[in-house]
Subunit: 466 residues, 2 copies
């Protein structure tokens, strides 16, 4: 394993130059500079352009060599054939990191040009992301090299989930989805052709990053197998890593090869690497979000026993089925004390059982009493609250009660709410308060099962026998 590439100058730069910055609003270099200005980047910003004097109010430089300070990061957005010369200048100027957003390298058959780029980066020790990538975003340092129109792509708030993706399109799609969720972003890293910096370097960095609580990765191929295994084991032992691998079936492997020339390899082998590292394996893009939000928000469960509280009997049955299908979770049996307390607190029509069906007219009061009883029940490890907002009793007061309860609970608790406008409104309300909301019993059960499975992995790892 070679010397580790330091990604800090790329993600936390004090100074950034944008090569290819332009006065033409249609140029990528213009969009990137504008994004830095809009984000209020607090460091020093240098547009580099051979002909312009000033761009967007900033003094422009003909070359990075003309800039007086040693730069942390250079973003390169010039046509592919011009990139090696720019990299050479970066090397001479002592630049620490580069993000090459330009396409036109190995992905269109120009492997030689890409090799030239890597050789310069290695010679000068420049940590280089790309080429052919969207680059990086870090809402804390306000670094943002994305060149997509902001109206197409909502950007997430600050948080603890870091997302790495080889593919720019998948990366931007997931970033857009994250913006609609309650959790926030720590780092976004789209690494494209992975000519130099690859999944191993990124995984290593994110494993140690104190701002990252959860790592989410979308990968198509793994180049350095042995190093990847080491990085995966290390990362998985430190924090939850959620992975979606494209190219699982024979046809998918073929398609992946044609897409990024990545050797997708044998998925069964890869899956066993992921499992040994304790990774949470996603089957679809939406799973990435369902898993990310529970790991970002919830504590470790003490056991597999789940209590369900609902205002819709049918939804309670479906959720019971989904928990059973998980193969690892079980239905909690309430202690006698809990059953007696519930019997006293609830109207006669409420049958004291798990799922606990509070009936369609249940409002904040019944939810409050039910949750108080379950919180103190030692037989209950996790709680699913189903709140269907189409029923007569559920409203913002009931949602607020769940939020208040969440703040003092020590058990993992998630919500299932399904529906259109009125429900969406309350979903946003609860998620913005850090309460994960799911719109399907199956997704909710899968998320809780992943949380419990990872807690078992952590426990096994901390056994003295290892």
């Amino acid at each position: 394993m070679g010397a580790r590439l330091d990604l800090k100058p790329m993600l936390k730069p004090r100074s950034v130059a944008i090569v290819g910055a332009s006065r033409d609003p249609d140029k990528v270099g213009h969009v990137i500079l504008q994004n830095y200005l809009n984000a209020g980047f607090p460091g020093r910003l240098y547009p580099v352009n051979k002909t312009a004097d000033k761009i967007l109010g900033l003094k422009a430089y003909a070359s990075v060599l003309d800039i007086k300070e040693r730069l942390d990061l250079v973003v390169i957005a010039v046509p592919a054939p011009a990139v090696p010369a720019v990299m050479e200048e970066c090397g001479k100027a002592g630049v620490k990191a580069a993000v090459v957003v330009s396409g036109g390298f190995a992905e269109v058959g120009n492997a030689d040009l890409q090799a030239q780029l890597v050789s310069i980066a290695d010679r000068y020790g420049i940590a280089t992301l790309g080429p052919n990538c969207l680059g990086v975003m870090d809402p804390r340092s306000r670094v943002d090299t994305l060149f997509l129109p902001t109206y197409k792509l909502s950007k997430p708030q600050i948080g603890g989930v870091s997302f790495m993706a080889q593919s720019g399109a998948v990366g931007s799609t997931v970033l857009d989805l994250i913006s609609g969720e309650g959790f926030g972003l720590s780092k976004f890293i789209s690494y494209g052709n992975a000519a130099q910096v690859d999944e191993v370097d990124i995984l290593d960095y994110l494993a140690d990053d104190p701002e990252t609580n959860v790592i989410v990765m979308y990968i198509e191929g793994i180049k350095r197998g042995r190093e990847f295994i080491a990085a995966a084991k290390r990362a998985g032992a430190i924090k939850p890593v959620i992975v979606l691998k494209a190219g699982k079936t024979a046809a998918g492997v073929k398609a992946a090869h044609s897409h990024t020339a990545a050797l997708a390899g044998d998925y069964e082998v890869q899956e066993s690497i992921f499992r040994q590292a304790g990774f949470i394996i996603a089957d679809d893009l939406s799973d990435l979000l369902y898993y990310a939000k529970i790991f970002e928000a919830e504590p470790e469960p003490k056991g597999p026993r789940v209590a369900i509280v609902t205002n819709g009997g049918g939804a309670g049955v479906l959720t019971t089925d989904a928990l059973g299908a998980s193969g690892i979770l079980s239905m909690a049996e309430f202690t006698r004390q809990t059953s007696e307390a519930l019997r006293k607190a609830m109207p006669p029509l409420v049958n004291i059982a798990n799922p606990l069906d509070l009936a369609g007219d249940a409002g904040e009061e019944r939810y409050d009493k039910a949750l108080a009883a379950l919180e103190s029940d030692a037989n209950v490890d996790m709680i699913i609250v189903i709140m269907l907002f189409q029923t007569p009793g559920a409203d913002s007061a009931s949602a607020a009660k769940l939020i208040a309860y969440k703040d003092r609970s020590e058990k993992p608790m998630i919500v299932i709410s399904i529906g259109a406008g009125y429900t969406e409104m309350h979903k946003r309300m609860m998620e913005s308060a850090g309460l994960p909301v799911y719109d399907s019993p199956a997704d909710a059960a899968a998320a809780l099962a992943a949380l419990y499975r990872y807690s078992l992995f952590r426990k096994r790892r901390s056994q003295p026998s290892r």
Copy 2:
């Protein structure tokens, strides 16, 4: 099998009386009357209330016996103990159908009261829905007995999907979800305790209903097994039936029993009944929608071969994986003619293969040429178009191109678009034009697989050997 109960007077009534109609806006009877008025119900409407002279501007009657015409439908929203007397009056007045929304019968242990209700209904031949149900909605006849606040529950447009659900909460939740989809509703039937009219009667009616193209059913228990099998076989042979059964696992069966006192029974047996009837089996509430929209919009595929067109390589790989996982669909191999036409039409960076990756800058022109080539390719049975709106090329013009193409295509075609605001806007645009849009490769593949599987079932049935 007894005489079939005629549900027509319930769903297409020319005259409706609402017993329990009230001037008090908090009463269920008031909400129902108001809903009929808001919906512009074109038939004759009679509030029934012992004390009021006028309610919401309509003359009120003390009893259905005071109404001069023979009523098609009576909606009953009075306390449970008062229901038998009202039913007795309905019988004497020659009422054809009743919807009993009142709760307080078998579901809270009052089995005797429920038996009394059924005995009166049977004696007078009144087709009776409920008790303890939300009742019916038919946007064509403007019948609407739902008593939930309209701000909590969006109502769908007119269409060809009929939805039957025992559970009121699940029913209203799915109804709310349907309102956010592109397809419309034919009938909504929430049948509660199923004391008299049950899933067999409803399935029989919907199978013959010319306004129903697709039947969606959520069930917890089946009471009349033999009759259900006959009705299922008949319905499945006429039109697609999508079913979600709650109570599959041991714990789920127990929970279902406690919810509606339904005998959920052995799910394996039930599943084999569904399969033999050609039903499409859903695993989750969201599946009901994914399946409903493809069956409502798409023609029968001629075979299992799918072409994928995408502007995101990674999403193409994930979709290829999902098709492989379906176990029944395959990737189409383009004819030489198609490959040559595409090679000429596309820029060099587009690799001519399936999935066809048009690249991130693809706009309406590239999609147009790709779809024209695939439409005429005899090796392509179905088309998945992936349009990621975060990319630089995709916009409303590209979405409009898909809609225009959809109108002239004879092959099933669905879209995958994933993302927040800008994507949601275009999703609504395409769905309102009848183009099904999915936000996950797995859901899209599952929907196409169901469409193809049902086409095979139909073909087997039409073989002379049967």
